[in-house]
Amino acid sequence: MSLQLDVNGEDRMFYGDPMTPLLDVLRNTFLLTGAKDVCREGFCGACTVRIDGVPTMSCLRPVALLQDSKIVTIEGLGIEGDLTPLQQAFEDHDAVQCGMCFPGMVMSLTEFLGRRPEASREEMKEALVGNICRCTGYERIIDAALSVRLALEAAE
């Protein structure tokens, strides 16, 4: 079966089984390895991408249902070669350790901060329930996300 997909604004062709998880198509066919292959059951969030603007676990979406969708991976965020404000905040707060969970963290938090820029610390934690980190203990991640919000408020 052949499928045309919109990935990071580019038309890409996939030839294969229609039930193939999007995660496998991204990593194995398109060599976009930012989305990580970890739990494969929707618990860890490491494979999170945006499908039509919505953070989604790519391990649980069969590619056949995505022909009319816009898929954005961590590689498609921001301007090539530059960091987004959230990515920069993660670096500034030394929040990244092993890096396995961070593409998913960034994909979830970028959408959440765009939708809920006034969110409290607790609400940010709630939004990250589906993104598991086994290194950092989360607090620095939340500190980084809050700093983006505060920077936006200061700019206003």
Binding site: P18, M19, E41, L60, V129, G130, I132
Partner: protein, 283 residues
Amino acid sequence: MAIQATSSIYIAKSVSDAVSALTDQGPSAELFAGGTWIMRAPLRQEKERHSYVALSKLPELSVITVSENEISIGSCVTHAELAEALDGLPDMHVLVTAAAKSANPAIRRVATVGGNLSTVKFSAADLVPAMLCLEAEVEFMSEAGIERMPLGDYLHRPAGAARVMTRVILPRSEALSAHARLPLRKAGDYPVAIVSIAVARRADGLIAAARVAVGSVENVARRWQTLESAMSGLALDPHLIAGRAAELLGDFRARDGIEADGWYRLKVLPTLVRRALETITQQ
């Protein structure tokens, strides 16, 4: 080199089209809605089906209507949509909590009502006990037409019928309700036990009628009718009723699972009953 597809997925254009596709393809075909259970079949070492009929693009299955007498919920409404649409309705507190606290945000945006009610092997589904205590009915379309049955009957249905769940119907009532669940982490995993309660009170404040449903303890969620009977006429006292619940634990044959043994699921039930009732007293 041509790459061979080993499975097929048919994207239905309407509910009747989905029924026809299921009928044509026979028992090997399965409905695919949110897919959060089906896509994990390899992890459960289950034999994967090879043909699917997808419902996710059907707008008629994604409608919620609220009236004075009933609420109708399309079978492809997601948990996130359900929690948002019913938020603030006092009689739906149990269902809003179930939909808003299950799994995690990304799963809630994809997993559907119909999928949650239809996945027989998923004992920890949050919506099932919540809807049992709201006396939900489910509606289907098949080649024979429209059919409707109580959710409790649907949970024990024979497998294999070529029918598509179209909606869930919830009667409105003045009962207050609450949903208590115990995941092993604060959030994001399966609850080891779930208690959903709806309580109607008499003018003197005593309990007129109670509906209690328990999920994740046995393989299939069900009403706790002996506790319901025991609650009738009592004061809405969470500690008193939790004590009655503790005396009635013999009603269950709790399942052992990787996340908890059966004895533990039973042990926490009275506490969950108390927590649900405390939530109701605060409403």
